[in-house]
């Protein structure tokens, strides 16, 4: 099967076969990252622009390296140093990039839906690198890739997503992707940080961490988004750490071969204890490597075989 979409805006709506195609394509890409010469000529002559309206280290660098490893020309635009500060609209910025012959625009924006708006107005293919509290599809995919690599499957696994689900685009992409792939998804956090619509999409919600961890195969710990916590949704960080921080003691409730994930950057000692973050059962650094592989796979699938029949 081939990639049939112009853009990658979210995991909601992607089929099981499409997600499998991306994950299967990422495996040979990971081999390239492990080589001495990390370069293949696949996307020679193609341009990838990373348009970031929010700060980011790993996602932006990961996309940039993924493009470079495949010989694409990659350019980074930070909104703070672009014409955005002069008041240029997102659509106009997109049209400018389009006029320069850009093939792919990777966008991160604080507003949910910004990539969708951009995608409607540009010829370039658009990849959502995180929009507000909506979706972060490539993070969801790299999490699934990491789980599949360690566990050999996704179907039938119990995955607990722990923390600030309300503000988390990572959680949403994980929920859509994992549900599609047949995993059992639980979420856990203070009730003020759990969105009310979860039950309608087949996700179990817990406010007691012990119950949420009982028999879990995977725990995906979310970052407590300190920058979004000014609304007083929980009393203090210390209390949050005591109630919802993942530590060795609490992990005993999970399966013995539990896998711990974290999208980073971590607040050590808040949502995750130091000795959990650095343990063998945590795959946090591996997630970063897999992130490059998954993004290479997406760039390949979106640019390779783009003859007239492939795009609707």
């Amino acid at each position: 099967m081939a990639w049939q979409h112009k853009d990658l805006l979210g995991l909601r709506g992607l089929s099981k076969q499409e997600i499998e195609l991306i994950l299967d394509t990422a495996a040979p890409m990971k081999d390239i990252i492990g080589r001495d010469i990390k370069k293949v000529p696949t996307l020679r002559g193609k341009s990838v622009i990373c348009l970031f309206y929010e700060a980011s280290t790993r996602t932006r660098t990961s996309f940039e390296l993924a493009g470079k490893f495949m010989s694409a020309d990659t350019v980074n635009i930070a909104a703070s140093s672009s014409s955005v500060v002069k008041g240029e609209s997102l659509i106009d910025t997109g049209k400018t990039l389009d006029a320069m012959g850009t093939d792919i625009i990777v966008i991160r924006h604080a507003a949910s839906g910004a990539p969708h708006l951009l995608a409607k107005h540009v010829k370039a293919r658009v990849i959502n690198a995180g929009d507000g509290a909506h979706e972060h599809p490539t993070q969801g995919l790299l999490d699934m890739y990491t789980i599949r690599e360690r566990k050999g499957r996704l179907e039938g696994l119990t995955v607990t997503i722990l923390g600030d689900v309300l503000h988390s685009r990572v959680a949403r992409s994980n929920i859509w992707g994992l549900r599609t792939m047949g995993a059992d998804v639980r979420v856990c956090g203070p009730s003020t940080l759990l969105p009310p619509e979860l039950a309608t999409i087949g996700v179990q919600a817990f406010t007691c961490i012990e119950e949420a961890l009982d028999g879990a195969d995977v725990v995906n710990v979310l970052r407590l988004q300190l920058e979004r916590q000014k609304k007083g949704l929980f009393p203090t960080i210390r209390e949050y750490a005591r109630q919802f921080g993942l530590n060795q003691e609490r992990l005993k409730r999970c399966k013995p071969d539990v896998l711990v994930l974290h999208p980073g950057p971590m607040n050590r000692g808040v949502e995750i204890a130091d000795d959990v973050a650095d343990a063998d059962f945590a795959a946090i650094e591996e997630q970063v490597t897999n992130g490059v592989a998954v993004r290479m796979a997406i760039l390949y699938l979106m640019m390779g075989g783009s003859g007239s029949g492939a795009v609707h």
Partner: protein
């Protein structure tokens, strides 16, 4: 476009004999198996390389390393294809540095696959020498690439298609020539 069977060029016995002859030629040209390695180009080059490895083992009594190369990422026509090729793994579980590598494929046609394979090999390591073995050389090269070992030379027209079938992929051994019919 339809394909119409025209003639059977090689049956299973003919393929087996060709593999045996190429194995002998490889050993003669390289004076044995020292530093020798076989790398098949996915897909049908891989089972052919495997058979060459087995034949060499039979003749010499010891085995040579064997790998599989996927060249999808090295193609120069990816973005013009309608159907996206699926990428498979490249598996070369030994160092290529200083090796005499025999690259194996089923058909040599334009030479573009081999060019891509050379790029892919050189990105993995630095072989001492790279040789090329193909089951069928059908002509119409577009690049200055020739095979060192050829199972059968088949002069063809561009309206013809060479179909190589191997047991491991297709469930039978055989090479046939077909005509393109509009």
């Amino acid at each position: 476009m339809k394909l119409l069977d025209k003639a059977l060029l090689m049956d299973d016995d003919a393929i087996r004999r060709a593999i045996t002859r190429i194995a002998h030629e490889i050993l003669e040209k390289n004076e044995g198996i020292e530093n020798l390695a076989l790398v098949g180009i996915r897909r049908r080059g891989v089972p052919l390389a495997k058979r060459l490895q087995e034949k060499i083992q039979e003749i010499e009594g010891s085995t040579v390393p064997f790998g599989a190369l996927d060249i999808t990422l090295y193609r120069d026509d990816l973005t013009t294809l309608d159907v996206q090729p699926v990428i498979h793994k490249t598996e070369v579980p030994f160092s290529l540095n200083g090796k005499k590598v025999v690259l194996v494929d089923d058909v040599l046609y334009t030479g573009r696959t081999v060019r891509a394979a050379l790029d892919a090999l050189i990105d993995i390591g630095r072989p001492q020498v790279i040789q090329l073995a193909v089951l069928i050389d059908r002509g119409h090269k577009e690049l200055p690439i020739r095979a060192d070992y050829v199972g059968k030379n088949v002069p063809t027209s561009k309206r013809e298609v060479i179909s190589v079938r191997v047991m491991e992929v297709d469930g039978e051994d055989g090479v046939s020539i077909q005509d393109m019919v509009d």
